[in-house]
Symmetry: C2
Subunit: 756 residues, 2 copies
């Protein structure tokens, strides 16, 4: 194991990397030309206008030296916006997502302090390792549980500590669950009128030989919800139409590109080849080629649109059913409609932006088969993912390539290329797989047939969490491939497994410390730099942007990728909980990670990300239960570790803890989960009553009419509800500033007006 | 292992025992004096009057020789009543309970046939056992899988068979689930108006400083269910009152007993001692003593009754809330009322007879703690129940008794008593425990806080099932105490456990065959004899009965004890499924058990049992999932067995099967379970509409007024809804017969008028 000094050097290098990233960010973000990369959120809100429009140098590079002196300002600025305002500004999803990092701090700062005060002295004041002559050890090991002699009564301290750590974690989790449930209910209660409050998604409408889907839905709800049913909206199968619209948009981009090129260089008329990827085929004039292609596609699109609207077969057996009151919708969403539970399935309609349209028409049995297949696929993916990688690696070596493509032989045999292939190719297969993994998991979730983007993200996150747990956590601790591990585990007794893993835990502390620094610290610093959007924006800005509207579209604010980031955070929770009683030296690194990530993501949420939908923090039960899983794993591993240390007497005391933890989890589930899946009638009634008093003449039918039309029929762009900005004085102030700024020609002060 | 001949002898003995029981039953049931023991159901229905009232010898002993010639008639008679009529006669619970035995026949008759046609020849035509010289074996072993040599390709036949058996079982289970779900929905739909259709049980009403519970409930539902709320009924904490009433009833019995004694023997005035159990104390006149005691208790009861009715603290925070329509009740039962899911909890009200009044007022957190404690207690009960028994056994030996009660030494040392204690006492501790076990499990379920008798029975059954699975099934297969087994299992690998158990399976076939005969065949024959109620009735009849009403009360029809019998049936399903591919010889015994039990219980349900409540077969999901558990266990054990037979190639084919089975279970759960826990709005609406059309002037409030009053306030006897008998011609005919019979002085023909 590495010494304290090695760790120090490694920490220095990683801190330096992170620091350089931050410096680069601090400089880049002050350049007006990058304004749309680092502050897109404010543009989307219409509070900030583009500074590049006037075109002078000052608008591209920031020449004000004073600004550079204040480049750390974004950090306090990120912390300044109070939470209620943050929820207004970025939505509850983002605000709660940031709280995950805050929760990490709340849990681990006191645990770290306590572990250093109590556990470090207890571990340090032994000399077990010094007495073992044939073992090399370092100062780091002296701080860990390895330094306690077998059968020592000092293990009682560790047991006491894991009890304290567990109860503290549970206490904080309970508090947080309570706060977030309250926040969610408050958020839902204070929301302005939205179509999804009145609407229920009805799936598996049974076929009726005499009636259309629309008439059938109408009759059913008129009969069974006579006092509350208002109207409904059928769902068209517009999948092909959506593909056409997408293709057209891509062709449009190419047309703009060639038009721009022609404008800048009118002497040379751009041409392209019509064949595959422009590699061969007839050479034609690019602008007219794309113009004809687009008009062809437009015709096709119109035909398809007409077909979808008129063909009764294009209506899928699902509908968005709206009610006269929130109470009526809440009732319909929570009850069973008919004695056959596979038809007329009702659930809360996701908000219109959140609907995943392709999954609305899957029959019940097919859905079950799909989920079975995906469960099996996930099992193989998690446990056997190394097999295809190994196969690819074995093909992607020199002999393999020479066999398949013999004409490449002279090229490959060249020394540089040869060493490149040998050194790089095997690794790259794994890297490509890991990059593609979240996409693959998302595709699997889509096959499972969930009807909203938010539930798809939650399902993907849950899959990714399992993958990380097995392959990153267990895989790093237990040597050998996953396949070997499984074989070994299956042939071990049930109580052997925590022992094997538990014993390896202290030995892997150094590995995980560097993992935290590389993946955590540097990764977060990379997040704030936004390299990919940075490059993409400048490419688009150069080749495609003509009007202000184009620039608007070239901007990619991105969003919080819950399905990818949340499972990664969970790894840090798991590491913190597992190492807290074993090697407390790892804890400060975790704390730094959470603090830094909290800062960066708060900044990003305020200034950059634009969420695609708002689910009202419905992901929190998942976050909670994954931290609970981490807690139970940490308890079982300590149990396994201690049972090898001749501390058998302590076992009964440790068995109680996971049982209590599981019970606590069930208790929390019963206590809070319903706030995330159901909508209470009392709250619905209060909102209904208030609304009736305020707006007695409200024409709800008109309000709901077009809410759940497939976005393709709205011209591909969904209109978001406009926020009532006047009610938020700070934003209004900022807005006024930025307007002034854009008029006098300098807007770089505007974020500081608010942020710094 | 026993030879075929041994098994034959044993089967003969057990059949003979069962046959004798049946003979005794056939004779006893024809005696008019036993009429109330063997046909109480008909008395309770008012279709049969007591033949003993006139007092002649003919009314006590049946002297008609023709009747004795037809004494097997009850068997076809039991089968004759068609199912829809059976449901009318005995309720859906009983009708569906009988179908469990029928399901056993449906599953195992074809499996037995197939196993004997295919598996027996495949096993028989080997000579593995003959080649092994140092092993003794019998013909029975030659029929089992033990006779197949290791690594033989004949194992493919067994794998094919378990696939066929499993798919057949699942097909039958699916069919049965579907039928029973339909029966339940039909039953609920065709029921006449009942209070529980309109009523919801509201628990955890939050405390309000300004309002009483009643006013609080009223306000809440007027606001949140304005169009549907009708009325509500608060729940009084009448536990103490109920105890007083019970005590009074017992004193009344004693009074009647002494009065009868005095009447029969007017010369001697009965006296008793007032001390503990009448063992010491002052000797007083018994009749006047009990009369004063009763009048004292009556006063106390009146005071308590008044106190309960007037004291606001005697009202528990729960209420039965009734709605104007079934639709309104269905909505309220299925939805969440407030944002805090621990208050205003709603669920379908159990029918009034089914309410378990003592459990209506448990706070949410306490409920969770209780369930945690009971889960832990159940774990220890299931796995460590032998420990206290062993302790009791070690105390209850000779030395132990002599130490504690030294004055008994001379008595104990007497030879006969000594051998009795040594031979009998250790066994009796276990026997007493096993007899008390169902009661203990029921107490545990009551502590868990379920609010209806039906759910209490279901919970107890689930606990008992676990106990039988671990202690009877696993305990019989694997030698040693449960404690040793656990220790061994924990130190074995996960894949070792099915192997260890699987290998022992064929060796235990003989044991289980005799178990089936003793516990199954003879046990069922004992059930029909009703020895305990027989003795109890005659005791009561002799000492307590004066009027016809007393005789009515002395009658103990009993009921189907779901909590005890159903888990025992599950053992037979498990044995059948486990042994079908391994030792098919066991199957005929299972089939005989199911056929015999079906016959007997159908007879009992028609003639004897009187169900205390009607839950509409809501126990079926439990029955289904326990059979599924048995199926998965059988598959895993065959997998374990085959993996020791050098048939490693077959493993992958067998792993797929449990996965498919589990998926099938989840599918069935999704497809059918909601029919047993929810009430669909469509069905509610249909019934509401029909009712409105038929009885537009119905005064529902009056109908519901007293429905959910604690039975203690109704004088301790709950009035059951009177059946509309005129609509069932057979019963009417029987009734007329029995009336005639009682008039002309002979009623023994009346059951035959209907039954035989």
């Amino acid at each position: 194991m590495a010494s304290l000094q090695d760790i120090g050097v490694s920490a220095g290098i990683n801190s330096l990397t992170a620091f350089i990233f931050l410096m680069v960010f601090a400089v880049l973000r002050l350049q007006p030309v990058n304004d749309r990369i680092y502050f897109p959120k404010w543009y989307l809100k219409g509070i900030r206008a583009s500074p590049v429009s006037s075109g002078s140098l000052k608008k591209i590079v920031n020449l004000d030296p004073k600004m550079y002196l204040r480049f750390w300002n974004w950090m306090p600025a990120a912390l300044r916006m109070p939470e209620p305002e943050l929820i207004d500004h970025a939505g509850l999803d983002s605000a709660v997502y940031i709280r995950i990092y805050l929760l990490g701090l709340k849990i681990f700062v006191p645990i770290t302090a306590l572990a250093f005060v109590v556990l470090v002295p207890v571990n340090w004041t032994n000399n077990t390792l010094e007495e073992l002559k044939d073992v090399t050890f370092s100062d780091l090991d002296k701080l860990s549980i390895s330094n306690i002699p077998d059968g020592s009564s000092r293990f009682w301290v560790h047991i006491g500590m894991i009890y304290i750590f567990s109860f503290w974690t549970m206490y904080k989790l309970y508090q947080e669950y309570k706060i977030i449930a309250t926040m969610r209910l408050h958020f839902l209660a204070s929301e302005s009128r939205r179509p999804d409050q009145y609407t229920v998604l009805v799936k598996n409408v049974p076929a009726d030989p005499d009636e259309s889907v629309s008439a059938h839905v109408d009759h059913f709800f008129v009969v069974n919800h006579p006092d509350h049913y208002l109207t409904h909206q059928v769902v068209y199968n517009a999948n092909r139409l959506a593909t056409l619209v997408e293709n057209k948009k891509s062709l449009h981009n190419w047309l703009t590109y060639y038009q721009n090129r022609y404008e800048r260089n009118p002497l040379e008329k751009p041409t392209i080849k019509t064949g595959f990827w422009g590699l061969w085929g007839q050479r034609v004039d690019a602008i007219s080629y794309y113009a004809t292609e687009i008009s062809k596609l437009s015709e096709e699109e119109d035909a398809e649109r007409e077909k979808v609207m008129s063909d009764p077969k294009a209506i899928v057996p699902a509908a968005f059913v709206s009610f006269k009151s929130r109470w009526g919708a809440a009732v319909c969403a929570q009850t069973q409609q008919t004695s056959n539970p596979t038809v007329w399935l009702t659930e809360w309609a996701p908000e219109p932006r959140d609907v995943y349209w392709r999954n609305l028409a899957i029959p019940y049995v097919e859905l079950n088969v799909r989920r079975l297949l995906m469960a099996v696929a996930l099992f193989f993916l998690v446990f056997f993912f190394m097999i295809p990688i190994t196969i690819v690696q074995s093909i992607a070596n020199l002999e393999g390539i020479e066999k398949v493509l013999p004409f490449l032989k002279p090229v490959i045999e060249a020394k540089i290329i040869k060493s490149f292939i040998q050194g790089f190719l095997p690794g790259i297969a794994l890297k490509i797989f890991l990059i593609l993994l979240p996409t693959l998991l998302m595709i699997m979730s889509k096959i499972e047939g969930f009807a909203s983007l938010s539930s798809l993200e939650r399902r993907s996150a849950s899959k990714y969490h399992k993958f990380i747990l097995v392959n990153v956590f267990l895989g790093s601790i237990v040597a050998g491939t996953a396949l070997q591990q499984i074989h070994e585990f299956l042939n071990q007794s049930a109580t052997e497994i925590p022992k094997i893993v538990g014993v390896s835990i202290p030995m892997k502390a150094t590995f995980f410390i560097s993992y935290i620094m590389v993946d955590g610290w540097a990764g977060i610093a990379g997040e704030i730099l936004r390299l990919v959007p940075f490059v993409m924006f400048h490419i688009k800005n150069t080749f495609l942007v003509k009007t202000e509207k184009d620039r608007e579209e070239a901007m990619d604010p991105g969003s919080l990728t819950f399905a990818i980031s949340e499972p990664r955070i969970q790894l840090y929770f798991l590491l913190g909980l597992v190492y807290a009683p074993v090697s407390p030296i790892l804890l400060p690194f975790i704390v730094v990670f959470f603090a830094f990530a909290y800062l960066v993501f708060r900044h990003q949420v305020i200034n950059v990300y634009d969420q695609k939908y708002e689910s009202g923090a419905s992901f929190w039960p998942d976050v909670h239960s994954r931290i609970m899983i981490g807690l139970v794993i940490s308890q079982l591993l300590l149990l396994g570790l201690l049972s090898t240390k001749e501390a058998g007497k302590t076992t009964p005391f440790l068995i109680v803890l996971p049982l209590l933890t599981i019970w606590f989890h069930l208790f929390c589930k019963g206590r809070f989960e319903s706030a995330f899946v159901k909508f209470p009638l009392q709250d619905a009634m209060i909102k209904d009553t208030l609304e009736k008093a305020r707006e007695p003449d409200l024409n709800l039918k008109a309000f709901l009419e077009d809410a759940y039309i497939h976005p393709i029929f709205k011209g591909g762009v969904y209109e978001k509800p406009i926020m009532d900005e006047e009610s938020y004085p700070i934003i209004v102030a900022t807005k006024r500033n930025s307007r002034v700024g854009s008029k006098v020609g300098s807007s770089e002060d505007s974020p500081q007006a608010f942020l710094g």
